[in-house]
């Protein structure tokens, strides 16, 4: 039955491609080429543009340092969606860095997840990070927890952890919904330093208002490159920024054309 459901009448373009996807393919290829060029430059030691200072990411080490001094744990929450979401994947990059730092400074790290798949991945990330820092004994699998798959049950469980464990630093990077405000404000009551980042625009105001540092939208996707300081990953961020500049140029041209000629078919150029 799945087979029959899956089939649909597609019209091939150039005998190969699905109708209406040529523009998508061009964009994918373009970004791939940009990334490849920048990565090649990075690998051969040629200069590539730096990423601007992002206060929220700089503050991660400061937050972990604060927790170490106070002898209290750090909590990390990778959002509430599963691994199929790009923000959760971005959170893994940050989790890796946080786990390494906590292993290095012998600070307890609590990883709280709302989905069993990120839980499995984060347990492995944390374990591997501790191993790479030469502290496999310090890793406690009980500190990586799957609390609940239900949004507000997870929220209640997290604020319970805040109350009992009294962390000093709270890092929330990933896809959040309404529970983000509950975490951020409760963390503030507890006197924790909070760093929040999400690409969900409807939660950004809450992070900006309630967290000490906020990462807005694409900053979380650059986090992995920024924290690792790997030139190769820097190159990928530069590649994506060049694509963004191209998008701006197209928007500007389209906006001018549409203002001069409202009946324009400029948009049709991108629908083939």
């Amino acid at each position: 039955m799945m087979w029959f459901l899956a089939q649909e009448e597609a019209k091939p373009v150039l005998g190969l491609f699905v109708e209406g996807t040529i523009a998508d393919i061009i964009v994918v290829l373009l970004l791939g080429i940009l990334i490849w060029v920048m990565v090649s430059r990075a690998r051969t030691g040629r200069p590539i543009p730096e990423i601007k200072k992002i206060a929220g990411l700089e503050a991660i080490d400061e937050a972990i340092g604060r927790a170490t001094e106070m002898g209290r744990p750090v909590t990390f929450i990778p959002g509430i969606l599963s691994v199929s979401n790009a923000q959760t994947l971005a959170a893994f990059g940050v989790a890796s860095h946080v786990a390494r730092q906590c292993a290095r400074y012998d600070t307890r790290l609590l990883v709280l997840t709302c989905d069993p798949l990120p839980y499995a991945v984060l347990e492995e990330i944390t374990r591997q990070s501790y191993l790479e820092e030469g502290r496999p004994d310090a890793f406690n699998p009980d500190d990586v927890r799957f609390l609940s798959a239900e949004q507000f049950a997870f929220a209640s469980a997290v604020i319970g952890v805040y109350e009992r464990e009294r962390p000093a630093a709270n890092i929330m990077i990933g896809a959040f919904y309404a529970e983000s405000m509950i975490f951020a404000e409760t963390a503030s009551f507890q006197g924790m330093i909070s760093i929040g980042g999400t690409a969900h625009t409807h939660q950004l105001p809450f992070f900006v208002a309630a967290c000490d540092y906020a990462l807005i939208g694409e900053e979380i996707y650059a986090a992995s490159a920024y924290l690792s300081k790997e030139p190769v990953l820097y190159g990928t961020v530069v590649g994506q920024d060049i694509l963004k500049i191209l998008v701006w140029i197209i928007i500007l041209i389209g906006g001018i054309i549409a203002t001069v000629n409202p009946e324009t078919t400029f948009g049709k150029l991108f629908e083939f």
Binding site: M1, L5, Q151, Y177, A178, F189, T201, H202
Partner: protein, 272 residues
Amino acid sequence: MERLMKIDRRIIYLLGAAIVFLTMLYPLGLPVAISDLARQTYNEVENLPDDAVVILSPMYDSGAMGELNPMFVAFFRHCAERGYKIIIVNTQWIQGPQIVHKFATQIAEEYGYVYGEDWINLGSKPGSTIFLQSAVKDFWEACIEDFNGQPVESFPIMQLVPKVTAEYVDACLVLNCGSPGAPDWLAYVCQPEGIKLIIGEIQMSVPESMPYVNSGQYAGMIAGSRGCAEYEQLIGHPGQALKAQDTMSAIALMVTLFIILGNIGYLATRKK
């Protein structure tokens, strides 16, 4: 003056709770002006063909029901007044159809609507975007049974909709509070099939949905509780949303006053 900066948050909470109770007991009766967006949304629903079939999708759970239940009631009532056939179905939000079923049953009785002929509740279907894609190809196969476990083919209303396409469905009314939600309906059903999409959105996500309204991808939108209050006035049936507006006004005023007080304290302290 310093105390103005450090008002105990429990005072804010107690005052907020008191205001909510008092405004519920003694409404202020402030008029609610009707916006162009609410009028546009009303007209879109009003101007559907007399024999229209609409899909009403409560894509929410208990967290958002305070804001979205009145929207469901308003949409259902408007459709029932116009004599449209109503199909209630959603995906992934298990609680949605359960929460709305009793409201739908009550309103259906008022208008003499017969279950299975004039309206039906198909319940929540798993699969998210897979369900939406399957519904476009074969709605019966995608749904299988209704809310009570009866096969969908046994209901006369379902004979009208073998597939979710513009040929059989006139509009999708989606009550949105997260993911999956209205953007998925837009991407997988409404835009490819050319079906009108009208949404009800929670207040915090209204800014995110405005670009879709401005571009015409959402034919209309009930924007939060205020938008629902406007809609209730337009359909001539004041409901929960309209009653809540006095409370909203009082709380908004309270928060504004606290912000001002906090800033007075801050500025006075800074001068010292």
